[in-house]
Symmetry: C2
DNA sequence: CCTCAGCAATTGATTGCTCAGTAATTGAGA
DNA sequence: TCTCAATTACTGAGCAATCAATTGCTGAGG
């Protein structure tokens, strides 16, 4: 057997490996899930899933605003990505920029009344999809395990 | 308490809910993981993670080519997305388009020798990241559970 | 046999991100 | 006190996806 044929077999073996399949499954499930939520939110609330993720963080602690820097890190966007995302959200009246007291480089973001109202409607749509495709398909013991595992993965990524 | 304040509290409660946190974790873990792999592959093999996913599928069954349609469905891309992706891959000599016998609408794609060689190097880089951030952080019992759960989710999404 | 609804791939226009580079601001060390 | 490296947000250019519209092809029903 010539070297190229051997390489083909090796490639086939690797492409079919457990690791590749399993990891592919994670990416596929996450992608499809996010896509469903995105289209549901766009249809029912005129916002993207990314905007929803921003609103979550702004509504979580109603008293304290959050810096763009922190939002970018949390959403895994670059600072320029966040700048433009907040531009759009500010443009549609969902959030407001306020100067950060004590650090004039930084910009804080807070949700508007309208933003919170949209968030509540969006959360309902979100819950419906999540309930159906993330919670319902799993035995309840598995659900807890799954989120625990995801937490471990996230921690490993953060610590490096 | 006026209605707006009540709405704020409600928003804070929802934004802090179990469902929102857990689902956020899935998205975050998947995004960060994919990002790591993408940058590793770009650095070491000059391909994107998406291209790698194409190569996986083409190398898996070396004898049979795969249609663009099937690739698009599998990678959750639109058909126009796949057209341009294959354009780029063909441009850098990773794959080849061949007319589908028996259906002249359809285009089949197959990997080139170069594509398979790149795939083998890429798979090594991929394995390193996956091993470290997906396998290592988990107890081995949890790993099996996790992939099983992901499979269930994927199935629920597919059946709808 | 012909028609016509439906599917595959492609293309132009648009969107939402990244990267690279800039300007303002900060804080730590000489 | 001054300097300078690091940090924040922003901007222009570019890239990879989407959507919408088009073309070519297929197969089922009249």
């Amino acid at each position: 057997m010539n070297p190229v044929n051997r390489e083909n077999d090796e490639a086939a073996r690797v492409a079919d490996s457990r690791l590749v399949h399993d990891f592919g499954l994670l990416i596929k499930a996450a992608t499809r899930l996010e896509q469903r939520i995105d289209t549901a939110l766009r249809k029912e609330c005129e916002i993207s899933h990314t905007m929803f993720e921003v609103l979550i963080r702004l509504c979580r602690h109603p008293d304290e605003e959050i810096s763009q820097r922190r939002l970018a890190d949390d959403l895994t966007l670059t600072s320029s990505g966040i700048t433009r995302l907040i531009d759009r959200m500010e443009g549609s009246g969902l959030v407001r920029r306020v100067p950060a007291p004590g650090d004039r480089r930084s910009v804080l973001v807070e949700s508007t009344d309208h933003g919170r109202a949209v968030f509540l409607r969006a959360a309902a749509a979100h819950a419906q999809v999540v309930e159906r495709y993330f919670v319902a398909p799993l035995a309840s013991a598995d659900y807890g395990r799954l989120t625990h595992s995801l937490g471990e993965i996230e921690k490993a990524l953060r610590d490096s």
